[in-house]
Structures are given as structure tokens and as C-alpha cells.
Symmetry: C2
Subunit: 193 residues, 2 copies
């Protein structure tokens, strides 16, 4: 998606350790007009699959999923990160390793909001090693719901999360895929899609 | 706001300890069409004040703020909860006591996204004792920004957060104010606005 790539080039900051800071428009300050265009683009890309529900994960996924959901006319469910849970059987849960925060979260979704037969579109801001998306996939599978696809804003194409998902035959639509970036020069190379 | 009150009556669950569960439409599963109506209503209520920026706090505030922001044509900044921060001077920070989770969070907003002279509208899902909003107010004041008002989805009118904000002369618009509720009967009484 040209608009997002241009915005990453304009306002993204490449830091050492393969970190891309996009908190000026994506995950701290949120440019809602950009999110609308992203939502429309996902709607176009997923026009041929049924979607009853969008699933995302707190916190950075929530804003883009909420705005995007308007173009699908479906509710959003966001998975909650928690460190101490009483597993009372009312939730689906999994563990997700956070690369950024160097720790493991328990992630939960109430059984009430994900049902067998639901057609679920997963949306998130970043895809790198894929841990977050794979955790959400596990929850979708446990619920007996059907995965319609995965929509990502920015994929780090030089990490293997996207490759693994595509190899599983999952319809993955990343609006911008970064093939390489360099902290010293600040350069960012996008995959031609 | 009639639509929100009716939805609370239909789908809200009153639990003991003055807990109101609205996770089927507000803060776990999110009804985006409802959020649109809430956003339009806040726009109507804050039509006479300048708003350059909406400030909310993760995680439950993000979805409603993102959808509401479309009617104001402004970006959203969400304050981040963190437990271990390196205060390097690049952020505004405060401490917020969470009633629900019985703990204290450090809450931060990057200095880049809140500037002197900004007209800030705070939006959040719940107002009870007011700790979260007062933390955000402190950040707005520290930034030298101007507070345009506070928009809340559900105010627990039997706790004193709303009263304290109104006594300070703050323009507070809660779309539904609950004056009393009863876990045994499930009854919920709204303030006539």
C-alpha cells in the first residue's frame, strides 16, 4: 500500500536491533485518516472471503482493527494480555512471547465472543517473528472458528513470521513489507507487492 | 444517550462489588456501530470547544477514541501503562491507581505527541473514582496543553470521580450515568440528563 509505505519512509525511524519506530502515526499517536485508508485496503484485499468478526490483540492492534471493522460491518474482539489469570474455563488462553518486551504473556479471549463457525479476520499492527499472530491462530482453532485471513499493517519481511504463515496456506495481507532496513543510513527497502 | 443506556440495560451485567460487565459490546468485544453513534454524540456535545487531539489510555479507551476521532478529524494519542520505565525525559509520566486490578501503573505519553497549546479532549470508557482521568489531566497540565473536556462512555455516578471533575469546572460529558445498580435484582438506574 503506497500510502503506508510513503508514511513509513516519511515518519518511521529505524533504530538499531531491527527496531522500526512508527509511534508518531501507528502505535502511540494514531493517524485515524490513515487507518481508514488501511481499513478500505484490507476490505478490498479480503473482499472474497467471509468475515464475521475481527480479532486483534491489545494494545496497538485495537485502534486499527476498530477503524477497519467499519468497512466490514463486523464487531472486533481484542485478546487481553494478562500476567495472572484464573483459568476458570470461561476463556480461551495461550501464551505469547513478546520480542519487544522480552517476556511471556498469557493472552485470553472470552469463550462468549468466539464461536465455532465464526469467520475470523485477524488484524494487527506488526508481524515479525509471528508469535502474536500464531497465538491468536491457536485461539481461533481452539474455538473451532474459521480463519478468513490475517491483515497486518507492517511486516518485517526479513524475519520469518510471514513466511511461516504463508507456508501454512494462510491468506496473509501485509500492507507494507520491509525487506531490509538500516539504522545507520535510515534506509528502508520495501518488497514489491 | 438513549442508545447506550438501552444497550447497557440489554447486555450489561451487574456483579457484586459495584461491578458492571459490558464486555460484550464495549471493552472486550467492541460494537463499532455503537462506537460511531457515541462518537457523533461527543462531537455534538463538544461542538463549541476546539479539539486538536484526543487523549485516551490503553487498552479499553483506544477503540472508542479511534472511532470517535473520525468525527473530530484529529489524531488520537493513547497513554501507555507500564511497570518498568526508564524515565529518560522523553515522556510525561504519572501514576494511576487501578481500582479494578488493585495496583498502581506508571502511565506515560511521549512529549512528542502533546504540546503546549494543544486543545485536548480526553476520552475513556469508564469513570468511577476518576483516578485514570485525573492521571491524564495531570499529563495534559504538565504538557502545558489545554483541556477541552472529558468524554466518558459510562460514569458510575455513585462514585465521586465525576463530581470531583465537575467541581473543578471541567466540561465532562458522560453518555450514560448510572446512579445506582443492584447485583441481586440486576437493576440499573440512570441519571436523567
Amino acid at each position: 500500500m503506497k500510502l503506508l509505505e510513503e508514511r513509513i519512509l516519511k515518519d518511521g525511524l529505524v533504530k538499531s536491533g531491527n527496531v522500526l519506530k512508527v509511534d508518531s502515526f501507528l502505535n502511540h499517536q494514531m493517524d485515524i485518516a490513515l487507518f481508514q485508508e488501511m481499513g478500505k485496503e484490507w476490505k478490498r484485499l479480503f473482499a472474497d472471503v467471509p468475515v464475521d468478526r475481527i480479532l486483534t490483540i491489545e494494545a496497538s492492534g485495537i485502534g486499527i482493527a476498530a477503524v477497519a471493522a467499519q468497512y466490514f460491518n463486523v464487531p472486533v474482539v481484542f485478546a487481553k494480555k494478562t500476567q495472572s489469570i484464573n483459568l476458570d474455563g470461561s476463556v480461551y488462553s495461550t501464551k505469547i512471547q513478546s520480542f519487544t518486551h522480552q517476556r511471556v504473556y498469557d493472552v485470553i479471549v472470552s469463550r462468549k465472543y468466539l464461536s465455532p463457525g465464526d469467520n475470523v479476520l485477524i488484524i494487527d499492527d506488526f508481524l515479525a517473528n509471528g508469535c502474536a499472530v500464531e497465538g491468536l491462530l491457536e485461539i481461533v482453532e481452539t474455538a473451532g472458528a474459521k480463519l478468513s485471513g490475517v491483515g497486518i499493517a507492517i511486516e518485517k519481511g526479513f524475519q520469518d513470521g510471514g513466511k511461516r504463515l504463508r507456508e501454512r496456506g494462510i491468506k496473509l495481507e501485509s500492507l507494507a513489507i520491509i525487506d531490509s532496513m538500516d539504522a545507520e543510513s535510515g534506509s528502508i527497502c520495501f518488497r514489491n507487492q
